[in-house]
């Protein structure tokens, strides 16, 4: 087990709690907007860490870059998706909690 491999495994393990927090936020937060906050941020950092960690584990530059490409695709999808849902929600009159 090389040093890079250990770092990779550590990154993968570090990424998973962000998903747990994302789900916790989805279940606990009071309105659509704050749930969007929790999901968009947590899941993407989690996915980024897992992708980077798995790439380091594989020890190949091309594979690492391919995994990072999947991460960027997911970033595009979730950033745009979160914005679309939030804007449509406000336009349709969903009131933010506490305002």
């Amino acid at each position: 087990m090389t040093v890079v491999g250990v770092i990779g495994a550590a990154l993968v393990v570090a990424g998973v709690p962000f998903f747990l927090f994302g789900t916790l936020g989805l279940l606990r937060l009071p309105d659509t907007y704050s749930r969007l906050h929790a999901l968009a941020k947590g899941d993407n950092v989690g996915l980024g860490l897992v992708c980077l960690g798995l790439g380091l584990q594989s020890g190949s530059v091309l594979v690492t870059l391919k995994l990072l490409m999947i991460w960027v695709l997911m970033l595009i999808a979730s950033a745009t998706g979160a914005g679309l849902i939030a804007r449509t929600a406000l336009a349709r009159g969903v009131k933010p909690h506490g305002l």
Binding site: L73, I76, T80, G83, L84, R87, T88, A91
Partner: protein, 312 residues
């Protein structure tokens, strides 16, 4: 190791059953449809567990992508989107029928599955793979050993599109008013990735999981996304000329090859081993193009208009 795999399977199974139950019994059609979309995602994970990456790829594109889009769009057009038709247990006595029925069905299905010839065709396919022109057994089965099935299957898709078109013009507006300026940006960013990824799957099909079906499904779903993001279909000249040609390209190419082979060798789809690779390649490309366009055409719920004007 083992118990981990079992936990994984158990969780997948539980989620699958729960989602299926939700899809059929949840109050609110929207909830049903979302449950069914997640059901597709779980199915893709299960295909992976069952060593079927080819199917997982197709399920990821079809179950999670195209079917979800179809159902959500249809839901928006059904005006009575209430919980009409929610399933009720009218009498507890129904259980008296359903429980024994379930037991008998499970028994019969299990017995049938058990009695299937044990080694299957895996050995035969592996033995003859060298003559098929490709290295991926699933592609070999699809486009060489059992290409007759594939021919009929593309025919079924085409008949589906014909049926939908014959219902009349597509409901208007085909695409609702653009809700956000972010959509064209999204479409612009994703279009090249869709093209490259679909071509990549097509290229891979000859030696690894992938192929015409997956590539076509990804491209078709991509086309749906592009149209939703505000693109207007390219092939909209008068009378949808190129549409019709491309839609039938896959079927026509397969029929042409089949008839040519029948003339040459006396049997439908009997490729000479020397010609097998290029023929399968040509068939794959035309089938992928057709499937992509068919999936997209099917989404419109009717005949596309002669002119795509910007709706407002």
């Amino acid at each position: 190791m083992d118990w981990l795999a079992h936990t994984f399977d158990g969780l997948l199974g539980l989620a699958l059953l729960w989602l299926a139950w939700q899809a059929m019994h949840a109050p609110g059609l929207f909830r049903s449809v979302v449950s069914y979309m997640v059901f597709g995602l779980v199915m893709a994970l299960i295909w992976v567990r069952l060593e079927a990456p080819d199917i997982a790829l197709a399920e990821a594109a079809i179950g999670a992508g195209a079917t979800g889009a179809l159902l959500l769009s249809a839901l928006a057009r059904l005006k009575d989107g209430s919980d009409a038709g929610r399933l009720h247990w009218r009498h507890p006595a129904e259980l008296v029928f359903w429980l024994p029925f379930a037991a008998v069905t499970a028994l019969v299905l299990g017995l049938t599955a058990w009695q299937l010839p044990a080694p299957g065709l895996g050995v035969d396919v592996a033995r003859t793979l060298g003559q098929s022109g490709v290295d991926n057994p699933v592609t070999a089965v699809l486009l060489n050993f059992r290409s007759f099935d594939t021919l009929l299957e593309i025919g079924v898709l085409l008949v589906g599109v014909v049926a939908i078109w014959s219902l009349g013009p597509a409901p208007s507006p085909i695409v609702p008013k653009m809700p956000s300026p972010a959509l064209p940006a999204l479409g612009r960013a994703l279009f090249p990735v869709f093209v490259l990824a679909a071509t990549y799957l097509l290229w891979r099909g000859s030696h690894a999981p992938g192929g015409a079906f997956q590539a076509g499904a990804v491209m078709g779903a991509g086309g749906i996304l592009m149209v939703l993001a505000g693109a207007r279909p390219w092939l909209t000249g008068e009378e949808q000329g190129p549409w019709r040609w491309l839609l039938s390209l896959g079927l026509v190419a397969m029929l042409a090859v089949a008839v040519a082979m029948a003339a040459l060798a006396g049997t439908f789809f009997a490729y000479p081993p020397a010609l097998a690779a290029p023929l399968i390649l040509a068939l794959e490309i035309s089938a992928a193009l057709s499937i992509a366009l068919l999936m997209f055409a099917v989404y419109l719920c009717g005949r596309p208009p002669d002119h795509w004007e910007a709706e407002d």
